[in-house]
Amino acid sequence: MTKKFKFKFNRRAFAYPYMIFMLLFIVTPLVIVLINAFLADDGSFTLKNFGEFFSNSGGGMTVLGNSLVIGLVTTLICLVIGYPVAYFLAKYHASNKILVLLFILPMWVNFLIRTLSTKAIFMALDVNLGMGTVLFGMVYNYLPYMILPLHTTLVSIDHSYIEAAEDLGADKFTVMTKTIFPLSLSGVASGITMTFIPAISTFAISEILSSSKIYLFGDAINMHFSKTTNSFGVGSVMSLVMLVLVVITNGIANLTSKDEEVKSVL
């Protein structure tokens, strides 16, 4: 009898290799970025990297500001175009999975291929590459990421809420603003996160669609880590700033979908 319990098989042990893997390849790299941000070129401790970025001597803050504006505008356009798409799909075509899929599919075609295709078309049409084309490219790329979470929440809204609102005398506009929209807020929040974060940190889209005229935060990070510039310190500070933005955006998104979060973690 005692022999049977000698080897206690524990399912938890299965998690350990992956926990070590994550510690090594997800957590440690971020810690190294953090350390890098405090290192001077010769390896000594310094706060100069932060000074250089936040004093805007290299123009880093300006780039960040521009990226935030472009990211916000992109997200807003995606929301304005995407919300009606998600709503109409949920209202009239809820059972037509293939149609819904068609709106999501472009997401799976490599973004470089899509971006270079749009650039080729713009060039053939003699459109000047600049802010307009970059915004078009961003919206074109991120629209599916906005539609997907919006559609998921809108489809799952219990129809009896809408009927109840109508029975209580609400007109169509009121039903929309007071019932449907508030119930879809968690989808709006995750749609915004899924568009805003990639949009501010993208590199390549802005570079390709503006012929390198427009320079965004992702391009700036990329440049600091390139072999020719090799200013890892400032690049690390910028990565940390980006990480803070990720945490803030996700924090806000989680607030609106608190209940679902709890469910998904448990």
Binding site: P29, I32, I98, F103, F225
Partner: protein, 268 residues
């Protein structure tokens, strides 16, 4: 009548957005048969772009890039599926607190900006370059790092749906724990494993940023990084129209088939 009008408007709007989403793809496919990159049929209908793709000066590089893409995608998705499947069973059995921490860290690569993850892996590999040689080792590790979270999250819901008594029952009926795992738990989570694998494979195939930062100077190019190196400065050469067209058609049909078969199974 009013309802009909609303519906008409809705469908019109949906149609318009769909046209916008697919117009660039459609135009590329049409003009891949023009043999030019100027969107004109001045030479008439020709398969020249497709011939150039298989028999041109860049054919060797292109084929090598495609081969590398698949080497990385297959290794990374197989490794992350195995790692993800076992660890999800383990994570599920963890104590509440540590489970929550593990799942939060697991979510990091999903919510984090891709460029930050790419940069962090790059400095990490540089700091430990004596352990991680440049090339496929680094690329496959980094792909496993961003793919496994998706595998875990596609298996976890299946596990949550499983009646914990099933595992206990198998033990009571005389199965040893490992046998119970193999014969009871694994078959139940297989759908999650399959979709996790498909997800990992597609994500790895599609990746650009992580690969771009971690390929080092070994000269390894995947399809994405090769497109970026070759086409971002100059405009697209005609053979790229052919490559893109094939890519569009293959990816879109594959996804449609997978999803249609999934839907029809659900209805049956």
């Amino acid at each position: 009548m009013k309802n009909k009008l609303n519906r008409l408007f809705a469908n019109g709007y949906l149609g318009l957005v769909l046209v916008l989403l697919y117009l660039p793809i459609f135009l590329i496919i049409v003009f891949s048969f023009s043999g030019t990159s100027t969107f004109s049929f001045k030479d008439g209908f020709t398969l020249q772009s497709y011939i150039d793709m298989f028999d041109g000066e860049k054919t060797a590089d292109l084929m090598q890039a495609i081969k590398n893409t698949f080497i990385i995608a297959i290794s990374a998705s197989v490794i992350s599926t195995i790692l993800g499947a076992f660890s999800t069973i383990g994570i599920y059995a963890l104590k509440r607190r540590i489970k929550k921490i593990t799942l939060t860290v697991n979510q990091l690569p999903m919510i984090n900006s891709e460029i930050v993850m790419a940069v962090s892996l790059m400095v990490f590999f540089a700091a430990f370059s004596f352990v991680f040689p440049q090339g496929f080792t680094r690329l496959i590790i980094s792909h496993v790092a961003f793919c496994t979270p998706y595998v875990v999250l596609s298996i976890l819901p299946r596990l949550q749906k499983m009646d914990p008594n099933m595992y206990e029952a198998a033990l009571d009926l005389g199965a040893n724990p490992f046998g119970a795992m193999l014969k009871v738990v694994f078959p139940f989570i297989t759908p999650g494993i399959v979709s996790g694998f498909a997800m990992a494979f597609t994500l790895s195939l599609d990746d650009f940023i992580i690969t771009q930062f971690n390929k080092g100077d070994t000269g390894i190019e995947t399809l994405s990084t090769y497109i970026y190196e070759d086409a971002r400065v100059k405009s697209l050469e005609p053979f790229w129209f052919a490559v893109f067209s094939i890519f569009f058609v293959v990816v879109l049909t594959l996804l449609l088939i997978v999803n249609i078969s999934k839907n029809s199974k659900k209805e049956a």
